[in-house]
Amino acid sequence: MLQHRLGALAFSLVSVATFLLCSCARSRSANDSSPGSEPFFTPAHPTVANAVKEFLGWRATPIQPIAFPHNKHIANGIACMVCHTGVSKGPVAGIPSDKLCMRCHEFLASDRAEVKKVAGYFNSGLDVPWQRVYGFSPSAHVKFNHAPHIRAGVDCSRCHGDVTNMTVAVRAVQINMGFCLGCHRAQQASTDCVTCHF
């Protein structure tokens, strides 16, 4: 964490100054030809606080639209891969769409408040706007592929903690590059940078 502390010091000084001096600086679109466009990425961070947070790796705890109880589902014998279908096939484990939820919940526990919320989304033709719990910041420029890890026998809990005891999934494991590298070194997996960064 040394680099973070050092950096934090430097950056907070700078960002305070930025805040004072550049309060008038508007976010500027690189495509000048497109006034009024709503860019997917802002030219820099939307706010200074935002930049500092990302730099320090502080992430807000995601607040899910529906309090999904992982423990109850797992206790009922539903394995991770039933919903997170992509985990053994591709890069992304995937979060199921509400259609999958409704396959059961159309008639299972359909009177519960949280289930009603799912049904509400389903009926509106939209999906539940789940918030990411893990995932990397864009500036990490990292591409993680689940499938080879599953094939190599890495247990889900290795990176995601003991989900059997969680209701809403929480970031139980701090995944950073040191975490990845530690495992890769131990398993003698490739530590070539382009294994993950491209």
């Binding site: 679109s29 690189a30 495509n31 000048d32 497109s34 997917f40 990425f41 940078c193 491209f198």
Partner: protein, 234 residues
């Protein structure tokens, strides 16, 4: 056997159509920068088609030459990077690790081919153009250098696939986006460690030459020179 990815560019086939440019842009999330930035030559294309005139009217000639990262064996960009953001991968490519890049732009200066592009601003996609982004490639953020990777994501995907199927990579697998799209098949990609691959065969062609070979960068791209017609069997 480790791979050594290389490419051959047949300039006698290349028509300068630009299909490779867009293929690359689509595959690798290369942003468009807009007119003002383009005027400052800040476009981000990883592959460009150089156009050179020769002679003057009424006898002009034009040569096209697609130029992308030459993936030099002896790359000037690599040693100058203070943070190892540009480095040599175990398969011999000139890797560019975006998250390690602090933006000194030294590599871009050192590159004699001027193929590196820099994110002067964060890339912008007007919604919903961002939906076209390829999730297999990172979107490079402000202040980092980027360049052609030989579609490393496709190479990695092929290798993972082959490993899952417990086999070696086949000829013609993987294929970078530019090679895939090239209508006159001017671009050929493959493993230079395999002497029977088409790219190895073409690399041995007497028409073959390396770009700026006098600099000793030892590029992995061979350019097959354009011929002139002097008879039916030329």
């Amino acid at each position: 056997m480790s791979h050594c990815w290389g490419m051959a560019v047949d300039l006698d086939r290349c028509t300068g159509c630009g299909a490779c440019v867009i293929a690359c842009q689509a595959e690798n999330n290369v942003p468009t920068v807009g007119e003002e930035a383009a005027q400052k030559s800040r476009t981000m294309h990883w592959i460009r088609i150089e156009r050179y005139y020769e002679g003057e009217f009424p006898n002009p000639r034009v040569r096209f030459r697609p130029v992308l990262c030459q993936q030099c064996d002896n790359a000037p960009c690599e040693p100058v990077c203070p943070t190892y953001a540009s480095y040599h991968t175990s398969e011999g490519l000139n890797g560019q690790v975006y998250n390690r890049c602090i933006g000194t732009r030294y590599c871009a200066n050192a590159c004699p081919y001027t193929v590196r592009t820099f994110n002067f601003f964060n890339p912008v996609w007007d919604k919903p153009l961002h939906l076209q982004l390829n999730p297999e490639v990172s979107v490079r953020q402000i202040g980092v250098m980027e360049k052609c990777t030989f579609c490393i994501q496709r190479i990695k995907a092929s290798e993972i696939q082959a490993k899952a199927e417990n086999r070696a990579l086949r000829e013609g697998e993987p294929v970078p986006a530019c090679v895939q799209s090239c209508p006159p098949k001017a671009l050929v990609f493959g493993d230079l460690n395999d002497p029977d691959s088409e790219v190895s065969r073409l690399a041995r062609s007497p028409r073959g030459a390396k770009l700026l070979s006098e600099l000793g960068t030892q590029p992995k791209i061979t350019y097959l020179q354009r011929d002139s017609w002097d008879g039916p069997n030329s």
